[in-house]
Structure formats: structure tokens, C-alpha cells
């Protein structure tokens, strides 16, 4: 053991080096590999063409999510109903055939455990602290919430991991993002990560692996941490870590794929050694004070375009950087907004509560507590899409589905849904959506769609008021 204090990242990295090359790049062992239908067909095809096999199929888990319609999908006998979109159906079929051919565990669209890959991994105990975990999807950063070094990869790398269970990587720089203090009334994990991205910018984390530290992060549940780590990539960081602690262990214990018995004890003993040592050095440290964070949302087409709900649409002419000024005007044009408009005066037509950022049970509880006893405003279409079949079942056991449907929300089947325009759930051109997802890019929710990113409670507040609203005005007091 070296005596130099090490960060969590350095410890996980060191435990996975198969070989170190002269130029500093390392062949890194990959413990866990998640696969979905969109970024894997070409990888399996590549294996087939080269006559290669999957080296460790038992370390891989496949689940379809992006393409699945979120309307009821099985018939009375539990068989999958046909999927209207031919290309989607072909991609889903390819995943089923490829996993069967290569012997990879596969959760079918008809299974109760199906869901968004980043919701399924943690909830089944597939994601574990101290592991290296990859998936052909940039929001793989989410799994870092449990202390896994988790990051998105491209399809060629998917193929590389399938064939070799390794990746050739260069070490990243490290950034500590510390959030001290206590969160104010009505402020959630989503507001914290929006505030962070607003502060560091959409490219602020490029080249870094982030570790989230501080009192606020320590006091968050694993689900709140998942929301934060999920959006690391929106700040440019490929991975975001939270040190594993008792909260993490309590969360994992007893999950179906988690270690059990003697293995569990050994695993926890090792996990306890992982948190960054006192005095460990980060290449950069960014600090935020929780008391400065209000319920927040985005006004533009980059996740860094963040304002508090009490704020107004900014004037791009006030931006110092000329490129940002131009981009700001373009964003406002696309978003159909004018500088100075109060965010709370902006009407919305759609609400989406879902995505791998905010579709877990605590998210649904937060949204339901606002929706309870209220009605979705006239002319607003609001949908709730649980992140997985298990979340859906849990929510139904708690009666959340009835709260939502009584209020006029749609209660749908699990999947990526309106987070990206790849399945039938889309925001029509020019229409405005309050969304709990993670990307407000041009066209992300459908061509011409206008997206405001916000928390589940804020999304529910938007649904029942028909505009972007301050959830604090609706909390505690029912109108």
C-alpha cells in the first residue's frame, strides 16, 4: 500500500488495472456491463463477423428501454403485443436474438423487472460499489451514486467489452464537487445537480471524474444521489462518484443480484475501505452552499441554462462571452421566450415525469404529494412513466397510481418514453414541456419541442397550474 492519500476514484482504478502501458494508458477490467437495444446491435454484429464470443456473459445484463412504447404492452396471456414501428421492432428483436445467441442475461419487455437500464441496474443489485460498470449510454454515470466507477461508452467499446471484458483507458483528472449545508424547503436532488451544472457549465467537467461530497450528498438517499450522478455527463464529466456509506449498504442489502452471506460481509468490508482518504488531492474543487440553491429549472437548450423558479428569462446581451450571447439568442428563439419574462409566467402544454434521472419511487412520491387532491390544468397533457416494472408495482402498492390518475395524469408502462424522441411519446413541434428528464437539447423530446428541465415535484406543480410554478407555493397548503 502506498502511503499517499488516495481518492475513491484512484482506489477503484488501481483495483482494476490489468496492465499499465508505458504511455500511462491502462487496460482496465470491467466488472459489470449493461446493454440496451439501441447501441448494441452493431457490436454483436461485429463479434459475429469476426467470429468472436462474449468473454464473460455472466457479467453482462441486457434490457430494452429506449424504443418500447409505454402503452400497455402485453396481451391477456402475457405475450408482447406487436410494436407498430417496424424499425423499433427490429431493434428490439435484434437484442432478443443477440443475447440468446451469445448467452447474455436478458430481461424481456414482458418481465416485471424490465425498465430503464439505469434504474434496473441499481434496483436489482447488479450495480455495486467499487465496481467498474459500463453501458453504451452516456447516463451510465448514474451508477456512480453507489460508488461504482460507471461511464458511458460507444458501440465499438461495447464490442470491445463484450469480447475482452476490458477497456483501454487513460486516467482522468479528478474534481471534487462539495455541497455543504442543508437543503431548503422544497429543494430536491434535481435542483442540486441543476445548480451544479449552472455553475460549472455544460463542458466544465470534461476530462474529469467528479466526486460529489459534503453534507448535502451524505444526507441524500441513494435515489437522490442517483439523480445527481446521472446528470454528471450534462456537466461534461464522464463519471460522477459518491463514496459508499451505510446508506449505500442498506440500499443494496438483499437485492436480488447483490452478494449475500459470507460474500456480503467480505464485500462490505472492502467497500468500507473505498472512500477517499483524508488529505487526498483532487485536481479541482468546486464548492456550493445548499442555502443558495432554490427550486430551479432550465430556460434554454443547454442544461447549463439554469435559473431559480423565482427568476426571469435572462437577457443574452448581458452575457460577456460573444459566443454565449449568440447561442443565448438562438436558444431563446427556439424556446419561444423573451428576456425578462418571469419563469412563473410561462405556460406549458406538456408534463413528463420519468427518465433515468427521476422515475424512481421517491420521485413518484414527491410528484404525487403535489398532485394529490389537485387536477391537471385544462389543456395540459401530463404523463407519469415509472422507471421500471418494479417501481411501477411499488407505486401501485402505495396507491400513487390512483393519486395520479384521479388528478388527470396518464399512468404508463416503464421505459425511456418522452425523454428522447425514439418511441411514440413525443412533444409536438413548438409545444412546451416541463420535464424531469436530463436533456433540453434542440429536438430532444421531438422535432421543435421546447423542454424545461426540473424536479418531479416542480413538474407536478407545473401540471396542476398549467405554467412553470414554484412548488413551494403548493406544498403544505392544498388549494
Amino acid at each position: 500500500m502506498s502511503s499517499r492519500p488516495q481518492t475513491l476514484y484512484e482506489k477503484i482504478w488501481a483495483a482494476h488495472v490489468v496492465e499499465r502501458r508505458d504511455d500511462g494508458t491502462c487496460l482496465i477490467y470491467i466488472d459489470r456491463h449493461l446493454v440496451h437495444e439501441v447501441t448494441s446491435p452493431q457490436a454483436f454484429e461485429g463479434l459475429r463477423v469476426a467470429g468472436r464470443r462474449v468473454r464473460r456473459p455472466e457479467l453482462t445484463l441486457a434490457v430494452p428501454d429506449h424504443n418500447l412504447p409505454t402503452t400497455p404492452r402485453v396481451d391477456a396471456a402475457g405475450r408482447l403485443l406487436p410494436i407498430a414501428d417496424k424499425e423499433s421492432a427490429a431493434q428490439l428483436d435484434a437484442l432478443r436474438r443477440n443475447t440468446a445467441e451469445f448467452g447474455v442475461d436478458y430481461i424481456d419487455a414482458t418481465a416485471a423487472e424490465q425498465g430503464i437500464v439505469h434504474v434496473v441496474g441499481p434496483e436489482l443489485g447488479f450495480t455495486l460499489p467499487g465496481t467498474t460498470l459500463v453501458c453504451g449510454d452516456s447516463h451510465t454515470s448514474a451508477h456512480g451514486a453507489l460508488g461504482a466507477l460507471a461511464f458511458g461508452i460507444g458501440t465499438s467499446e461495447v464490442e470491445h467489452v463484450l469480447a475482452t471484458q476490458t477497456l483501454l483507458l487513460s486516467p482522468s483528472k479528478t474534481m471534487e464537487i462539495r455541497v455543504d449545508g442543508a437543503l431548503g424547503f422544497g429543494v430536491s436532488a434535481k435542483d442540486v445537480i441543476l445548480a451544479i451544472i449552472g455553475k460549472i457549465g455544460a463542458a466544465g467537467g470534461t476530462g474529469y471524474v467528479v466526486e460529489y461530497t459534503g453534507e448535502v450528498i451524505r444526507n441524500l438517499s441513494v435515489e437522490g444521489r442517483l439523480t445527481i450522478a446521472n446528470m454528471s455527463i450534462e456537466g461534461g464529466a464522464r463519471a460522477g462518484l459518491v463514496a459508499p456509506d451505510e446508506t449505500t449498504f442498506d440500499y443494496i442489502k438483499g437485492r436480488p443480484m447483490a452478494p449475500a452471506g459470507a460474500d456480503w460481509d467480505r464485500a462490505v468490508a472492502w467497500w468500507r475501505t473505498l472512500p477517499s482518504d483524508p488529505g487526498a488531492k483532487y485536481d479541482r474543487t468546486v464548492m456550493l452552499d445548499a442555502s443558495d440553491i432554490a427550486p430551479s429549472l432550465t430556460w434554454g437548450t443547454s442544461p447549463e441554462d439554469v435559473v431559480p423558479i423565482t427568476g426571469a428569462v435572462p437577457d443574452p446581451d448581458s452575457f460577456a462571452d460573444p459566443a454565449k450571447r449568440a447561442a443565448g439568442w438562438k436558444s431563446l428563439d427556439y424556446m419561444g421566450l423573451t428576456p425578462g419574462t418571469r419563469m412563473q409566467d410561462v405556460d406549458i402544454g406538456h408534463v413528463f415525469i420519468g427518465s433515468c434521472t427521476n422515475s424512481r419511487i421517491e420521485d413518484l412520491r414527491a410528484a404525487a404529494s403535489v398532485a394529490d387532491g389537485r387536477r391537471v390544468a385544462d389543456g395540459v397533457r401530463a404523463m407519469v412513466v415509472p422507471g421500471s416494472g418494479l417501481v411501477k408495482r411499488q407505486a401501485e402498492a402505495e396507491g400513487l397510481d390512483r393519486i395520479f390518475t384521479n388528478a388527470g395524469f396518464e399512468w404508463r408502462e416503464p421505459g425511456c418514453s418522452m425523454c428522447l424522441a425514439m418511441n411514440p411519446d413525443k412533444v409536438p413541434p413548438g409545444e412546451r414541456c416541463a420535464s424531469t428528464s436530463n436533456r433540453n437539447f434542440v429536438g430532444r423530446q421531438g422535432p421543435g419541442a421546447r423542454t424545461h428541465l426540473l424536479s418531479p415535484a416542480m413538474a407536478a406543480a407545473a401540471a396542476v397550474t398549467g405554467r412553470l410554478a414554484d412548488v413551494r407555493d403548493l406544498m403544505g397548503a392544498k388549494s
Partner: protein
């Protein structure tokens, strides 16, 4: 992969910042199960605008694209690299790239060239009517004028590009080292390999908080 040593020709003098992969190839193009044919969907939202750079006949088929900071941010879709390759782009010049995109670019024979902002600004000017050359041998970007901008590339990636090497084949040759690592892992972190499979897992309560 086709070896690349020199990329030379007209260049799209774009310079736009924070070009995300949703812009490079929108999500509805991701339903393909093959790597080819995505050029048709490349920059679809940009091309919907009149007088866009990509439909300007002067630049059609350019092997070089010049862009601003943080090129290829957002989704990890390798389709972005496939779309660029399919439209004939073999080099992208920008002040910075997203980590995932630049990895994907290398693996598809596209050279991501990082140059300082002032060099990029100059190239955007020159490329309006002059060709640009990216040379991996001399590690420079040059123009018909006196411009000569040196750049850096990871030596292994440079070699892979120049020799058209198959990275998976190279790693498979390290099989002994990987097996040795797995042996140690089985001893020190047995729970990694002994994960309970999906078939027949008991899921009651798994969705609990």
C-alpha cells in the same frame, strides 16, 4: 478500419460551439441495426434551415469539419461518428471534444484534432474558399497560406489510425494478462463473478427504496 495518414480537401467552416450528438444525428435515426447509411440523417436539424453550410455545394463531401468548443457533447451514440464517416468526414478540428465522442471518432477512422481557439478561428476564415490539410505524419494542420498549426494525439491512437489497427484484436492478444487478473479477482473479490443470474431471481421488494 481504413488507415489514415493525411486528410486533405475542402472543410466545412462551421465553428459552432457545444454541438451535441443529438444535432449530429437525431434520435430517430438511431433505430438502425447497421453502421452505414447514416449520412442522410447527419445534421438534419441544421439542414432544415435555409443557407446552411452542409447543403452549400461549395463544401459538399468535405473531408474536414471545423467546429467550436465541446464538439460531440451529450449522448454517447457512436452513430454520430458513423454519420460523419458516412458523409465523408475524416477529420474534425475543434478547440475541445467531449471525451466519449473523441473515443468514438478514433475507432471509426476520424481524426479529432484539438487546436487552440485562435487557430480554429483562422481555419474557419481560410476554409471559406481554401482547402485544409491534416497530416498525421507531421502532426500539423496546414493551409495553402503560411498556416502551420501543430497538434497532439495519443501515440497509441495515432498508431491505430495510421495503421488501421483493430483494437479488439490487440487486446485479445493480452489474454494471459486478463486471465491472470480474473484469477486474482476470483480470490479477492469473489462476489464480482458470483453474481446471481437473472433467471429465477427473487424480486419481491426489489423496487423498495
Amino acid at each position: 478500419m481504413q488507415p489514415v495518414t493525411v486528410v486533405t480537401g475542402t472543410a466545412y467552416p462551421w465553428g459552432a460551439k457545444n454541438v451535441d450528438t443529438d444535432v449530429i444525428i437525431p434520435a430517430h435515426w438511431l433505430k438502425t441495426i447497421s453502421r452505414t447509411g447514416l449520412g442522410r440523417g447527419a445534421f438534419e436539424t441544421v439542414r432544415a434551415q435555409p443557407d446552411n453550410i452542409f447543403d452549400n455545394p461549395r463544401y459538399a463531401g468535405s473531408p474536414v469539419l471545423i467546429a467550436g468548443d465541446n464538439f460531440g457533447c451529450g449522448s454517447s451514440r457512436e452513430h454520430a461518428a458513423w454519420a460523419l464517416a458516412d458523409m465523408g468526414v475524416r477529420a474534425v478540428i475543434a478547440p475541445s471534444f467531449s471525451d466519449i465522442f473523441s473515443g468514438n471518432a478514433f475507432k471509426n477512422g476520424i481524426v479529432p484534432v484539438v487546436l487552440p481557439q485562435d487557430a480554429v478561428d483562422r481555419l474557419v476564415e481560410v476554409a471559406k474558399d481554401q482547402p485544409v490539410t491534416v497530416d498525421l505524419e507531421t502532426m500539423t494542420v496546414t493551409t495553402p497560406f503560411q498556416d502551420r498549426f501543430p497538434f497532439e494525439l495519443d501515440s497509441f491512437r495515432r498508431q491505430c489510425l495510421m495503421e488501421g489497427l483493430d483494437e479488439i484484436g490487440l487486446t485479445l492478444a493480452r489474454d494471459t494478462a486478463i486471465s491472470k487478473f480474473e484469477g486474482a479477482m476470483a480470490e479477492h473479490r469473489p462476489w464480482i463473478e458470483e453474481r446471481r443470474g437473472y433467471e429465477g431471481v427473487v424480486v419481491e421488494g426489489a423496487g423498495r427504496t
